[in-house]
Amino acid sequence: MHAIGAKGTTRWRWVLLPGLLLALLIGAWQVATSTGAIAELFSLEPYLVPSPVEIAESLWENRSLLAENAWVTLREIVFGVLCAIAVGIGFAVAMQRWRTVHDATYPLIVASQTIPIVVIAPILVVWFGYGLPPKIFIIALICFFPITIATLDGLRSVDPEAVKMMRTLDASRWQRFWRVEAPTALPQLFTGIKIAVVIAPIGAIFAEWAGSSSGLGHLIQSDTANFEVARQFATVAVLSAIALALMALTVLAERRVIRWR
């Protein structure tokens, strides 16, 4: 894989190549839907299989509705991921520092990821209501895992020779952490955050399905009942755009913070 932005040519490759592939797929889809091929194949009413052009139209017509709901979902995702970062770093640091904490929490952290969100989400809605807290909780629950594991791996990749060296250079436990361990773990932390921002929208949708009065997940749910298929696709496109934007933001932040690579 090429480093993003390493050279002029590679800078464009990562925009151009996926763009081309996407255009190709959308073109094929347009042909397949406007000729009615897919609808015929699956014996469906044509309005259930919207073409890219119809989806784009829906995207434009519903722009204020989509923006309103996207704002709701974006807030859930951002707060959820921020909580996940705080909790993930906290766990990773504590697990690295204290063996007992590591041994006690590791199996439970793994087990936390086997909790089916669809099961726990309605319970959380019952407990915390329709508002923001259950959404943040669910997103943080699925996002803290990659951040914890990646950061822990990063902290463990510290060269033991460097630690010895720092000890003879009079570094306290804290100084060793801030000057050697934390910077060493930073790239891994960012890897965890990148995974988190991509899976967070899925968490947001499940959380909204369990109970909400707004948000992109809520919109998809109500559109399912009304066979608003074009708008559902438009909503999914907005959700993907959110994930891509957060990913890009994370990569930018990473490049700003980790200047030595």
Partner: protein
């Protein structure tokens, strides 16, 4: 050729004193009864086959590890924390921290000791000029050559202000020409800023050129099989020094001792 046991130091003496020092990892004995005296300002080389416990010995001296038997004293202090406070360790790889500039790397110990960034940098900057690193203060470690990185790493060790420097094969990763240059450089550095030095190396010539004395260790469990006096003692002209007949004879002697030791005599 063993150290005369009558020459034990008085307690409170400066320098380094190892007495019947022994270390094991569980069942595995790594060091057997090491006796070694290094006066303050003395430079002693440790050569020996791979895995003979040279690095373990350095860690014991620095107080990074506890011995399983015998005694080790740095300037008369035996407690590990006291040893740690008096020794600075330079690892084989430079281990410069890539997130700091060359100058900030060199100033690391001063920062750890509680100095603010600017005074710490100013103190290290003086040494940069003196040790031929002027102009590279702001360079990132990745922008420096191998020799330059090793210089910064040595300065980082020196700046800590410890009386004892523990150098673990500091130039092993460099090419032969750079290594020769760095040996000359280190010799000059020790002439202007004398410290008690324990130098672990694979390179007999390096040890004989840089040290006052060279201790040859046997294969595991490491014990000192020979201690050699040195003819050159950090002469300014390294090339002339290492081709001197007395130096060549000392090298032969050291290599023979090394061969005997590696067969596990």
């Amino acid at each position: 050729m063993r150290q005369d046991t009558n020459m034990k130091p008085e307690s409170g003496q400066q320098g380094l004193s190892l007495t019947a020092l022994q270390h094991s990892y569980g069942e595995l004995e790594t060091l057997a009864a090491i006796d070694l005296e290094v006066p303050a300002g003395g430079v002693v080389g440790l050569v020996g086959p791979s895995g003979c416990g040279k690095s373990t010995l350095l860690e014991l001296i620095c107080g990074l590890r506890e011995q399983t038997g015998g005694r080790v004293a740095v300037a008369g202090h035996e407690a590990a924390a006291q040893r740690l406070a008096r020794c600075a360790f330079m690892p084989q790889r430079d281990l410069l921290l890539p997130w700091y500039s060359a100058l900030d790397n060199a100033a690391l110990a001063l920062r750890n000791q509680g100095l603010r960034r600017e005074p710490a940098r100013a103190a290290a900057a003086d040494l940069f000029e003196r040790f031929g690193l002027g102009g590279f203060e702001a360079a990132r470690p990745t922008e420096l050559s191998g020799g330059m990185r090793q210089r910064v790493a040595f300065l980082r060790t020196l700046v800590a202000g410890k009386p004892v420097l523990a150098l673990d094969e500091p130039f092993a990763a460099l090419d032969a020409i750079t290594r020769g240059e760095m040996q000359e450089w280190l010799a000059a550095a020790l002439r202007t800023d004398p410290r008690t030095v324990v130098l672990v190396t694979h390179d007999v010539e390096e040890a004989l050129y840089l040290c006052d004395r060279v201790a040859v260790l046997s294969a595991r469990p490491g014990r000192i099989v020979a201690e050699l006096g040195v003819p050159a003692r950090r002469a300014e002209d390294r090339d002339a020094a290492v081709t001197d007949p007395a130096f060549v004879a000392a090298r032969e002697q050291a290599l023979r001792a090394l061969h005997r030791g590696s067969r596990g005599s």
